[in-house]
Each structure stands twice: as structure tokens, then as C-alpha cells.
Amino acid sequence: MTLSRFFLLSIVLLLLGACASGPSFDTRRVDLAVTPRSAVAEQPLTSGQTVLWGGVILNTRNLESHTVLEVLAYPLNSNQMPQRGRDPLGRFILERQGFLEPASYAEGRMVTVVGTLERSESGTVGGSDYVYPVIEANELYLWPRDSEQYNRSNVHFGIGVGIGL
């Protein structure tokens, strides 16, 4: 009885392990209601809030002592992965102390970040003015290149026909 229960539990854990990949950031201190767009909706913005955001990298700049990423945010799924198929939540700027490799943190790659809201910064997108929320990244996760394929279809079922000889 206990043995079969043990087996069942281990199988369930294995299955769960296969599905849930990602950073699994601790969200207890995070204000999940704040999006990049809502963060800059009221000025001056409330700095010091902890946010969990993610999205697609638009560009990467290496400065002398830190790295700056511009990210287009998307809603996150239960694995904290940005869902590119959904409506974007606006852009944000992420600052990280030290050097991040721009060939890895490249345009088009996805990141998920736990960060502290610092300030807003105005820039331009084409001819339009744009107000970006700026966060200091505390924890940063770069999604592997093919993670969307793995996460899209979690379970496959197949039908097989066999012949015994």
C-alpha cells in the first residue's frame, strides 16, 4: 500500500517536473496587479514596488557598469513565461548591474524578471513620445530559445498499432 502510493507520488512528481520549467520566482513580495502600462499611468510613479514582468527583448545596451534592456511586456502564464500570443502590456526598461552578454540577451529573446520600480524615463518610438517605467532587475531569467515549443503543447497522445510475430 505505502509502496504503491510512493510510486504514484513519484510518477506524479515526474510528470509535474516535465511540464513546469522556468524560473519559479518567489512572488510573495510582488505586486502582480502592476503592469508596465499601469505603472506609468499616474505620474509621478510609485517607486519601490516589486514587480514580476516578462516579455520580448527589443534592444540591449551595454554601459560601463550596467546593462540596459528594453522589453515589450506580455502577460505571463503559470510558468512565469511571457505569452507572445496575447496582447502586449507596454514596454519597460530593465537595468542590471554588470555585463549581460548582448549575443545571449539578444533582440527577440524572452526574459522574465523580478525587479524594483525605480523611475520613469521618456524616450521616443519612431516619432512618438513614449514613457517607460524603469526597473532594477533583482532576479533575471533568460528563456531558452525553443522554450515556447516545449510549453505550448504539454501532453501528446498517440495511437499505435502493433503486430506480434
Binding site: 545596451r61 551595454n62 554601459l63 560601463e64 557598469s65 546593462t67 555585463f99 552578454e101 548582448p102 549575443a103 545571449s104 533568460l142 531558452p144 530559445r145
Partner: protein, 183 residues
């Protein structure tokens, strides 16, 4: 009896020969105590002239007079020297190659493995960040074949039929990755 032994010996030699890799032996085999890029960057002086085998993704290529300078984003290598597909990296290094390398062949993103000796360090800007590169004087190098994009139905059953000619599937019937070899 001796005849069959002879033939089977000949056959197995032929088979073995067909397996022989195109990858140069100095690329396939790491030098003894191949140091990590991290350790060399931290203490380049003590690693001066040491043999290394490193590889990764090509970031940049400069053609100089009678030489080529490659900057490479290092990645962990498999046992036979091929860069593994992972994001984990120990950083960048520079390889000085003593001949002309065609920039249309060694394009950005292609995978390369280099064997040579540590020649020192060089600081170059990445954006505004002063990046410390380890410089390797390359003696051997190898450009790994590009991953071949197979058509979506490549693995369907008709591709495996060796007996029937399928003119409507066009040429080339099989796709061979191209190996670029150097010396």
C-alpha cells in the same frame, strides 16, 4: 577459411575507414588540462602560451592583411569538441587565425572550435563596457556544419524507400550538410 578471414578483415577496414571523421584530430581531442576561459581571463599571465581548445558562436570577423581575427562567444564543448546548444557561456574570446578566412563562410552565429595557445588579453568595448578578451593564437580551427533545415515531411515513409524512384520529389533527394575544411 583463411580466405573468408581475409575478406572480413578487408570489409571491416573499409567500414572503419568510412567512419573516419573529417574533424581535425586537434579539434576532436582537447589538450591535456585544457584550462577554462574563466580561469585564463582572471590570470592570463600564468597561462601564457598554454594550449587551449575552445569553441562557440562567431560574433565578429575582421580580415586583416594575411590574417583573420575572430571574436567568439564561448560555449561548453561536447567531448569531440563541438559547441553544445546552451545559453551557458564563460564569455568571449578572440582567435587570431594566420590566414585569410572568408567572411561569407564564417558568418555570424556559425559554430567554430579553435585550438591554439594563449597569447594574452585585450580590452575592447562592447557598447560602452570595457570587455576583457583572452586572445588565442590559433593553430587549428574548424567550422562546424550548419544544422540542415529538412523539409517538414522529410521523415515520412516515402523518403525511406530506396527501391522506387520518386521524380516528383525533386532533387536533391538527400540533403548532405556541407563540411568546410581547412588544411
Amino acid at each position: 577459411m583463411t580466405e573468408t578471414l581475409h575478406i572480413s578483415c578487408l570489409l571491416s577496414t573499409l567500414l572503419l575507414a568510412s567512419c573516419a571523421s573529417q574533424v581535425p584530430v586537434n579539434i576532436r581531442q582537447a589538450p591535456p588540462n585544457n584550462p577554462l576561459l574563466d580561469e585564463v581571463r582572471d590570470n592570463a599571465v600564468s597561462f601564457q602560451s598554454r594550449q587551449v581548445r575552445w569553441g562557440g558562436e562567431i560574433l565578429q570577423l575582421d580580415n586583416r592583411e594575411n590574417a583573420t581575427v575572430l571574436s567568439v562567444l564561448a560555449r561548453p564543448l561536447s567531448k569531440d569538441g563541438e559547441p553544445r546548444s546552451t545559453d551557458s557561456s564563460q564569455g568571449r574570446f578572440i582567435a587570431h587565425i594566420p590566414i585569410f578566412i572568408d567572411p561569407k563562410v564564417y558568418t555570424m552565429g556559425r559554430e567554430v572550435t579553435v585550438r591554439g595557445t594563449v597569447a594574452g588579453i585585450e580590452t575592447r568595448q562592447v557598447g560602452e563596457y570595457p570587455y576583457t578578451y583572452v586572445v588565442v593564437k590559433a593553430t587549428d580551427w574548424y567550422l562546424w556544419p550548419e544544422a540542415v533545415q529538412y523539409p517538414a515531411d522529410y521523415y515520412r515513409w516515402w523518403y525511406y524507400d530506396p527501391w522506387i524512384y520518386h521524380p516528383w520529389y525533386g532533387y536533391p533527394y538527400y540533403h548532405h550538410p556541407h563540411h568546410y575544411r581547412h588544411h
